[in-house]
Point group: C2
Chain length 415, copies 2
């Protein structure tokens, strides 16, 4: 394909991670270098910012602040959960996007997110093709959940896994100081995939891991769980359990709902709002065993702990953003940037491209064979997979004992 | 006083911190150097290990592992919550302690803990004096709560404060990515003193601090709180609140009990078991405002996050342990090691000694004048006090992407 001259726009979407801004740095720094890219825009709150013509001129930012994005958690441009309707049902948003793209001569569209965001990216890509508007559309993967199809792993996962494994080790030490014993229940995120909960098993390499891990890939049986906890409590006096927020019983009911009579609220994608699982299980175990029990939810902390980032993850997140731009400039479109693990004893991941159509809305779960037969832990294969992803230390610069995060000027683009 | 030859025993007591083992390293390494100290014992689970003759010979430990204690969270020897009765009421425990002290020729007793532990230390000191048994008794301060009387601050507080301020910054960034807005409620420990919750205000120095902080020093009024949150939510769309676990209403009732019908359990010191405040307030705010609300409890994470230690804190914790030994060898007894801040623009703390009698069971709260007039934040004075305590980065060595914590052999002392 020949050179395509025009502006680019970049958006962040879905739940933030501690490295989504590293991908932003990759896209923005690379795009600013490319001669054929005439303007680099950052959309405020993802696709919503594009629809509302609310975006920033990234060339106005201080280069040092853009560099700091590599170690700044959360979505610096703002994120969004906004589901585009199918163009066949309702073309309004698409027409508006095309109007905005034409107005600013936007010829490059980069979208950074997880499953739902890749769906958005895919829909836009297909619509622009159909409309005959030349525009190169690339998805940049992001999700701590690690459940995107077509890639070895997702940027965001490694740092969250490192946070969970490290915190599990620390809690392991803290939770067994008394001779009276305790049952501690840690809750990791993960609606449908147990990648994050499984990462706690990395702590076992240092002799400070959980006794039991329950993933959403396996049906959760409360009685079996109580038996397993009670048996271990009687034997060891201390039990450390890790659960995925999304574990469900055989009827498909979230265990987190067991203890809650609160009306369930639904977010825009129709997922039930989860939370409070650790507390729910802690109460059940306490009642059943009489043991001292503590439930701890890693909550937002696990996805924004940039002070404890995986350098491998940060570098890959940056690379994913940078390569999205390079490939688009070379003429590629309608792809998501993905990682493919090279064979061999040393960890190495190569970049590949996967079709957006294949990625959109397909979830990658933990393979059943990476979960032990009892369904209460992960296997050696899981450890081998996850361990390379948490290597290396990424930390923001420190000023006055506290992290120095990026401060963007966010200069609105000229209309 | 002349030289006193004999064994020493060291115990850890109360809730662990991320630096209590640094004090252990200070005591043990210094005691091993002293010629007059003939054996260095570490008590398993504090005073209980002494009573049960369950202690370790610390000279058997690998010096590198002792060095690693400086960056290992929690109580490596095991902790305890055990309240000694007054000797006048029941002498049993004291007689037993004297028996053990005599059997092992224990002439130095070092006890590391907070208010309750200093009470234990004081009682033992006074009993040994009364019994005419020459023994030098020194308390080493420890508590993330920072509520020990007679010292500028307590080892453990600086690192917990650094964790809370850093995590508050990270959550601040994470919790405002959506344009829909959110109320986020962070819960810090602190039963009666608001030092930890107040530390969140340090994040404001980086423009990422809480909007509202509620400390137990001020009576909590639910209606006033809801007004304050609602007003800010309407104005800014995002509100970040920090609460101390121990906030109470005008009738002295814990707010954490509002939402809970669970029977309250009591620990050995008669404190009500707290927890769940963030979730309770989140539910109340959600119902009242309809806003998206998230409650996050720092829970054990705030006291065991050695991966994010304050170097100032770690060094002072070590020094407190080391100086306890040095002073005891010089002839001092019946004191707690304490810190006194030197005048001047640069932060410097000198060691001083305070009488155990004065320290035992006296709580130091946040001065009312360091809390703002509205009772929903802290003043510049508080910031000036706390900021020096979080300076410097202490981190454990990393192996395979994870912390390498100390592994003690725990060789039982010869009976």
């Amino acid at each position: 394909m020949g050179e395509l001259r025009g502006a680019c726009i970049f958006g962040q979407s879905g739940g933030p991670t501690s490295v989504i801004n590293a991908s932003a740095a990759g896209v923005i720094q690379e795009a600013l270098k490319q001669d054929c890219i005439t303007a680099v825009y950052g959309a405020a709150h993802g696709i919503k910012g594009v629809l509302e013509e609310n975006f920033y001129d990234m060339s106005q930012e201080d280069p040092y602040e853009l560099e700091l994005l590599k170690t700044t958690p959360s979505s610096a441009l703002g994120s969004v959960r906004y589901k585009l309707k199918n163009a066949e049902e309702d073309e309004t948003d698409y027409k508006r996007l095309l109007e905005v793209f034409k107005k600013y001569n936007i010829r490059y569209f980069f979208y950074n997110g997880g499953n739902d965001s890749m769906d958005t990216c895919n829909k836009i890509s297909k619509y622009m093709q159909k409309a005959g508007y030349e525009c190169r559309v690339m998805g940049v993967p992001k999700t701590i959940d690690n459940d995107l199809w077509g890639t070895d792993h997702c940027p965001g996962y490694g740092s969250a896994a490192k946070y969970i494994a490290t915190s599990t080790m620390e809690v392991y030490h803290d939770a067994r100081v008394y001779d009276k014993g305790m049952v501690t229940i840690l809750e990791a995120m993960g609606r449908n995939a147990g990648w994050l909960a499984g990462a706690a098993a990395l702590a076992s390499l240092k002799g400070a891991g959980p006794d039991l891990i329950y993933l959403p890939e396996v049906v959760f049986d409360l009685d079996k769980f109580l038996d397993e906890v009670t048996t271990l409590y009687k034997k060891n006096n201390n039990v450390l359990v890790v659960v995925s927020e999304g574990i469900k019983d055989k009827d498909g009911r979230y265990i987190s709902e067991y203890g809650s009579d609160l009306a369930k609220s639904k977010d825009a994608f129709g997922h039930a709002q989860l939370g409070g699982l650790a507390a729910t299980l802690a109460n059940i175990v306490k009642e059943k065993t009489g043991a001292k029990v503590r439930g701890i939810e890693f909550s937002l902390l696990q996805r924004c702990a940039a002070h404890l980032g995986s350098l491998t993850d940060v570098n890959e997140a940056y690379l994913a953003g940078q390569m999205a731009v390079k490939y688009a400039v070379e003429g590629k479109t309608d792809y998501m940037v993905a990682f493919e693990r090279a064979e061999g004893p040393e960890y190495k991941c190569n970049i590949k491209l996967v079709n957006l159509t294949d990625v959109a809305n397909t979830e990658k779960k933990v393979p059943r064979e990476w979960i032990n037969a009892e369904g209460n832990g992960v296997t050696e294969e899981f450890i081998k997979y996850a361990l390379p992803l948490i290597q290396g230390e990424s930390r923001p610069p420190i000023e006055d004992g506290l992290p120095r995060f990026a401060r963007l000027k966010k200069v609105p683009a000229k209309k």
